[in-house]
Symmetry: C2
Subunit: 302 residues, 2 copies
């Protein structure tokens, strides 16, 4: 908490050590110690005639992402990794929790059902390992929470991002981001859960598959570190999973005619709602059907 | 299918090969081949003056349990194993499906939350590995299906077994069986699911913990192989997960005053219903609460 308070004290320009000590009600020695710790974490804090000064944090690595992050996640950063979800699963098997695995690029990024997910350098590729004391029935709402967090972050950057059921964020029908939530547990209780988030941030859309876009392509000007922090905080802030209202607001699927391919066949009709467990309610010619998951095609504009 | 048909033809006493061939519309050579296959699987089929005769199947091992089993499960039998659930999880990791791991005894049997489950020789310890194309939200209904299957099998043996939420089968409040459903998957789709069933069958209750009983102790006279087959078939027959009605009928929790200890605290009130996702609806002094999982204590008779 004090580390965070010191970062805040430093955020308005140079400030003398004694002034920080007075502001926070701690000793000058404690201020010095905290500043050293922040420096060890990789932050550039200069000592000048006017006191300490935080040089702008511009990097994209563990300490930079943790710096000022208002969510209790440890960040494990990789320049390149096969799949952040796979790494988070390894950490889960080792007993870890509350870790955000972040990579500049993934060489084997995965989407739903083991499909490939292109993850060139410049994107936001992260997998958050959590151990929520809740039921697997609520797993889909972590996907919803992450989709809302991503869509809000993109919208703050001026991009008209909306959520496509079950697990994508799109701009004008083109895929901007995808969520892959994986979990293990008992019937009544999740053991671990990994929320994988892939957001095409500072990525040239030419290197992405057809039907895909990126924040850069849509004119979204973001600092990748700040955007990632916003997403992690957005996910954390929605940990009570009370996200259906926001999800509905940001959804581009509800109200549309959809065709959904599932393991059991095809369902076609108007998407009218989502359930607590993340299923889509579709009004078909034969009545209402509740579809758990599947590939969803939007048949006409809302 | 023909193997099963031949077993049925053999079930009414000795029958000549040509008669079987005619009954099933296959060649005599095919009958001979199927009989040889059954013999290789460990069944005693005698050839006498009146034809083939199936000597009673009395063993408890893979072929004996598979013999006549009306569910498409392969049986992997162990005289002794650490935990059938752990073995089923290994098989899941190796890509298997539709396997029932069965052991005469478990040396490290597990219940919910990693608790120990005493599993001496003579019990029914089995873990069924499935890959249902459904959502983790439905995982609890596999627990329900297994509990119904176990309770029905015990009741057919004359034991007044009833289901105690969330995952036990009890007789007069004493634990007769427990179910441990574990799973891995994506938010919308189960990858694998293991339904672990522990039923104190032919077990001396003196070797079991306090508050526990067994079919033997309750006067339930069962052939263990037949009982296990009944349970596996009962689980398979309920694979559509339309089990809430049966579960409610057999429940001893509904209608009772209960105290439930959860990760978030204690809920006390009258158990009034269960939900599709396996949660218990409790009418408390402050209104209805829906409890996902926890340790449930029955406070007074229904």
């Amino acid at each position: 908490m004090t580390r965070r308070a010191i970062l805040e004290a430093l955020s308005d320009g140079p400030i003398a050590g004694p002034a920080i000590a007075e502001e926070l009600g701690i000793s000058r020695a404690a201020v010095w110690k905290h500043v050293e710790t922040l420096r060890e974490a990789g932050l550039e804090i200069e000592s000048g005639p006017d006191g300490y000064e935080l040089v702008a944090v511009t990097g994209y690595d563990g300490p930079a992402i943790e710096c000022g992050l208002e969510a209790p996640f440890t960040v494990e950063y990789h320049d390149s990794i096969g799949s952040t979800n796979d790494r988070a699963r390894e950490l889960a098997a080792a007993g870890a929790s509350d870790v955000a695995v972040v990579a500049d690029e993934q060489t084997g990024g995965r989407g739903r059902l083991g499909r490939a997910w292109e993850s060139p350098a410049g994107g936001i590729w992260t997998s958050v390992l959590l151990r929520p004391t809740t039921s697997p029935a609520n797993a889909a709402r972590f996907t919803f929470a992450a989709a809302v967090a991503v869509a809000r972050t993109a919208r703050e950057a001026g991009v008209d991002a909306r959520i496509k059921w079950p697990n994508d964020v799109v701009v004008d029908g083109d895929k901007l981001a995808g969520i892959l939530t994986e979990m293990e547990g008992e019937a009544g209780r999740i053991s671990w859960l990994v929320v994988g988030i892939g957001l095409n941030a500072d990525v040239d859309p030419d290197v992405l598959p057809a039907g895909t876009t990126s924040l850069r392509a849509e004119g979204g000007d973001v600092d990748r570190r700040i955007a990632l922090q916003g997403i992690l905080e957005g996910l954390y802030d929605r940990r009570d999973l009370d996200v259906l209202g926001e999800w509905r607001e940001l959804s581009t699927t509800l109200g549309r005619r959809v065709r959904i391919s599932t393991a059991d066949g095809t369902v076609e009709g108007e998407a009218v709602d989502v359930t607590d467990t993340g299923a889509l309610v579709v009004e078909t010619a034969d009545g209402r059907e509740t579809v758990t998951t599947g590939d969803c095609e939007h048949l006409r504009p809302a």
